[in-house]
Point group: C2
Chain length 688, copies 2
């Protein structure tokens, strides 16, 4: 069920009319500017918490966060009070570059194709000047280049060629890199490598239908699988608030983090248990591991530099999403002050999730089997070559599972025939060098575990210190969970330890479990936690301070949202903006107070040919799991498929609970691909 509400929730994204209002106010005051950002300025937590607790309290005002670039490349940060119609802040920035917009991404290619020096380099590479329409570029922000600094807005054009307009360009990289001045709208420099690598002459490989048909055609042996919910879905929407299986939360969305989940709680038998105030991916970085110039500039902060919202796909029913799907649209400013709508930016649906719990008594085969359901809030964003499918998965037992699936296309560079990649990359196709890289994501967890005052502990599984044969540990089997409190921001900088299968517990020490005596907690179980491979003191280490540790914790402060800084393109990392600033000397207490946990996780990607020319999904996942939070198992009240007790079995199965899914069938009947199946009533260990 979905209820339309005329009232906006304070955490709802700005509507198109609110964006227009803000733009009109700015236009009136400051004339024509480029709009890089017109987004919700999130309410202050103190005010918001009061209103969440009691909607009779003052409702936080709607304020627009605005970032514009005026003539001459002047960057302004602004705030516009939408109620009063006033600009409450208008600050000229120095040496800070705002997020790249889609329009800025699209603009560069046209300029490149016409630039005489680019044309010259293309000719050197083997591309005649008549073929410049076959030359393409992915115009990333320059990142940071010490020769150019950050006063002038610059992009680096990663160059490619398509023999045919439908060819995958990433198999034909070009070896030089034009630098584009966004204010002048021209190429101001070209990085030309010492070793030249002319255009590859390898035949094209493609993944589009015409290429597949030519290569032998599509697989013919996939039979359809249908997923339907004939009585509708189990979730209920009230505006952007969703309720599903005891969960309740608000689904926000912004230009850089994409999906933001607010005010997450779980209703345990009538008691609303608060869990997280806010949950999102707040930043990410994709550092490449080839030390040769200019590849050190390849370390995109896809959220802070481009935006998971700005780059998000318009999802397609029956393609991206299968089953019964609910969509939310997204609205953004366009660079020139219009409105850009992305329909179906977020999809919401539920899925069967296999067995939830099961037990059979071996004595008499009395048993229970209950099936699980999960809820998925999803977006997919395209960062030039790569795609990131971000799923926020909710389980009935109180577990939240962020899951990211990587797909799309490897970043590629050219290589000469027989060239040694020195281990910095792999030839994934003739002439195509795919460099080693990492995908590192920063999960921002603003916990509210049973209340706002929380404490983080590190939990390590360790053997007893007592030696084998000692009275305390005679047989040598003793082990326990060693918990270490993170009392200050400095102490909070912790890393994964495989030897102790380390986890982190976000606890409310004021709320011990009435039976176990342990603090109510949500445990972070995260196993894809590579360290930041660029070394201490490196360019990436400086710019991506959040990635130096698996976990860092700060004391909550409004506006500490984006851990590489508010404006990321072209930051030098000196100083390191964002999280390193907020932690400072590390002495601030984070013990039993309002905190934010920053968790960096991800993968190291050493490419191989299987990843090319487009990559089958690689999954990355982690769990936020309730421990000592609920009274006991919170899903016993999920209806089982089947349940029989010993007394029922003794009475010949009289009165058993049988909600077996009658739609399920046997795959085959009598040697044919069957339709009608029989449902087995017996559900025991020793089937009869």
């Amino acid at each position: 069920m979905v209820s339309a509400t005329t009232e906006l929730h304070p955490l709802d994204p700005l509507t198109s009319s609110e964006i227009e209002t803000a733009i009109n106010i700015v236009k009136k005051a400051h004339g024509d500017v480029f709009y890089n950002v017109v987004s919700l300025h999130e309410p202050r937590k103190a005010e918001m918490s009061k209103w969440l607790e009691d909607t009779a309290a003052p409702k936080p005002t709607r304020i627009a966060d605005v970032v514009v670039i005026a003539k001459g490349g002047k960057v302004y940060d602004g705030l516009v009070d939408l109620k009063d119609g006033k600009i409450t802040k208008w600050e000229l920035l120095d040496g800070l570059q705002p997020i790249i917009t889609m329009e800025e991404l699209v603009a560069v290619e046209h300029v490149c194709r016409k630039d005489p020096k680019v044309i010259e380099q293309c000719e050197i590479s083997g591309i005649p000047k008549e073929d410049m329409h076959k030359v393409y570029c992915d115009p990333w922000t320059i990142g940071f280049d010490e020769r150019h600094g950050n006063k002038v807005r610059l992009q680096q054009a990663l160059m490619y060629y398509r023999p045919n307009v439908d060819d995958c360009q990433y198999q034909y990289p070009l070896d030089f890199c034009p630098i584009y001045d966004a204010d002048k709208e021209e190429i101001v420099a070209i990085d030309i490598p010492k070793v030249r690598r002319p255009l590859s002459k390898a035949p094209a490989i493609n993944y589009h239908p015409a290429a597949v048909e030519k290569a032998g055609g599509y697989r013919q042996d996939l039979k359809p699988i249908n997923i339907t919910q004939p009585e509708g879905v189990s979730f209920k929407m009230t505006g952007r608030e969703i309720e599903w299986q005891s969960w309740k939360f608000h689904i926000g969305f912004n230009y850089r983090e994409g999906i933001v989940l607010n005010n997450i709680s779980y209703n345990e038998n009538g008691t609303v248990r608060p869990i997280f105030y806010r949950l999102s991916l707040a930043e990410m970085v994709v550092p490449y591991g080839n030390p040769e110039h200019p590849h050190q500039r390849k370390h995109a902060f896809d959220l802070g530099e481009y935006g998971a919202g700005y780059m998000t796909n318009s999802l397609s029913l029956g393609c991206d999403c299968k089953g019964s799907i609910h969509y939310l649209d997204a609205e953004f400013p366009s660079r020139n002050g219009g409105i850009r709508t992305i329909k179906n930016a977020i999809c919401i649906h539920e899925e069967d999730a296999g067995i939830l719990f099961k037990h059979t008594d071996f004595r008499d085969e009395s048993s229970i089997v209950t099936r699980a359901r999960k809820l998925i809030i999803q977006q997919v964003f395209t960062a030039a070559n790569y795609e990131y499918a971000i799923q926020w998965i909710f389980h009935q037992d109180g577990t939240i599972q962020p899951e990211i699936k990587l797909t799309g296309i490897l970043n590629t560079y050219s290589m000469n025939p027989g060239e040694d990649t020195h281990g910095w990359g792999t030839q994934v196709y003739p002439g195509v060098n795919a460099h080693n890289h990492q995908h590192l994501f920063c999960l921002r967890v603003d916990p509210n575990v049973d209340g706002p005052n929380n404490t983080v502990f590190v939990s390590d599984a360790v053997p007893s210190d007592a030696p084998v044969g000692s009275p305390e540990n005679f047989y040598g089997n003793a082990f326990y969970a060693k918990r270490t409190k993170l009392s200050t921001t400095g102490e909070s900088k912790t890393d994964y330890e495989g030897k102790t299968v380390r986890t982190w517990e976000i606890c409310n020490t004021n709320k011990p479990h009435p039976v176990s005596g342990k603090a109510a907690s949500y445990k972070l179980i995260s196993r894809e936690v590579p360290p930041l491979l660029p070394k201490e003191g490196s360019l990436v280490w400086k710019r991506a301070g959040f990635a130096r540790h698996a976990v860092q914790v700060t004391k909550y402060s409004d506006d500490q949202l984006w851990p590489a800084g508010r404006h990321v393109p072209q930051t030098s990392g000196e100083p390191s903006l964002g999280l390193p600033e907020w932690i400072g000397d590390g002495t601030e207490s984070i013990d039993n107070t309002d905190i934010v946990l920053w968790h960096t996780f991800g993968v190291v990607h050493i490419p191989s040919p299987e990843d090319f020319p487009v990559m089958p999904v690689e999954p990355i996942t982690l769990l936020l799991k309730p421990r000592n939070f609920f009274s006991n198992n919170p899903v016993m009240n999920v209806p089982p498929s089947y349940a029989s007790t010993p007394s029922q079995v003794a009475a010949g199965n009289a009165g058993v609970y049988d909600a077996t899914d009658k739609i399920s069938k046997l795959a085959f009947t009598n040697g044919t691909n069957g339709t009608n199946g029989s449902c087995c009533a017996s559900n025991g260990a020793n089937g009869h």
Copy 2:
């Protein structure tokens, strides 16, 4: 499609008539004995490989592997040639105890209830002698107890009480432990603790429907979700051989490993690429971490001591399995020489698996999105209190994903009110102490990666040694995959290293990829890899040598199947049977030869109340992923849902490939829980 075959595959489990034949032969020669095992004696690899390559070669004979216990507790290992009708081996064992059978598990309770000393202890605990029918026991093998040794077959009875026949017994543990002599069929000792812990008086908590109704009833807000395959399934069965999405393999099954997958290959565009000769879970151990006596005896080898086959559930269509399901039954001997059939022991089905790959060109929104399918081969076995759902998941891109879901009920012990568990356990319900434990599984991988001669490498992601600012690493970003060959069995003993996100590569160094130059390989990506927490020299460390390292590699040898030894109950660990024996002094070469990789993975379980009285599933997973194995992306020929090229977009989407799933719907229409949805043709980053 399923084809009946009259011919048995050499790796098919023994049929009921073959089991009967073997039993009759043994009975004739040796009279009445108890049958602990009558199972397929797997063909020798040399012979089997020849036949697999060319079915005109001699077909390996069917031989039964037999283990019996004769009067006086005499244990015999035997082999019966089913063709010739002859016993080819009959060996009396000394000090070895065969696997526990279901019948032996069920027998002990009756004896306990009648034993005067057990009755006495029950009275001390607070249970009157009239209520002995309310006393239950889970009669594990004794494991190993140095006071009793292994000449006499013994079980330890973990004791419980049920006030009502339908109560979950694990909330009322009793503090003493009777020892049962299986030959005498009587209690020969009782372990009585120094600290007594009488029966808990806490009110009962249960998960059956009557209890849930009493506690407020079931959740009412779950709408059904239907999964159907109206044109049948995509997999084809020929006997026990399955073909699906380029995969082909044989599904075996035995009393101890459960599912065994044989002769796994992938057909890459007409070329059959061999991958694994044999894949299974070959052993497991669940060590408990409480050092107090007698808890050190709690470290069940659920496969070698009880059997994933023997304990496997009869799966229920529409309950355990949802959709279009194919089942395989299992047949075993019963202890007294009959046949025990478990219907629906294995289920096979496919599932939609979300996006397989996707890419959108930000310039014009030309895009492709292809959905994934996965195949699951599943069993669920009940090990007294715990359930293990074992899934072998096959992906279209050549990835194999073993996944285990833990559920069922915690092992519990009694505790006094206010008792300090000293961190060795958690009070999960009043009076119920759930001890810390690990679940460690041994994956046995007999690789055949592009052929029988393979080599294992450790792969560590490491930064360059060159410092930041040096010519080799000026910006400090350089990193690579450092590969270390495991040349000998001794070198192969390796552990997980979180700091380098270590993986293991099973390579064929004779088969370099024609483009990348790297050896064709299957990569083991496994992140749930706790070390064995019982210390070196401990009882568990000695008995479970396989668990001392994340990976160990041996040179292939027929009959080296079960890494804690062939007969596991009551082994002392001196010497350590199985894998430690096979590795010996560690000097044997495993370089470019026929090898077996043993991978131990799992979890540390620190219980909490959410796990009680029955545990919501906890998932454990790992990947075996092709790298430098396939020419390039092997799934480009999976039909997309939607594909448009730049030229098609320029022509107004003429000729796009559109196989959008028309069954998918919008969840809501006009504020109601909707039925008809519209399919969005646009699939771009900037939706219109």
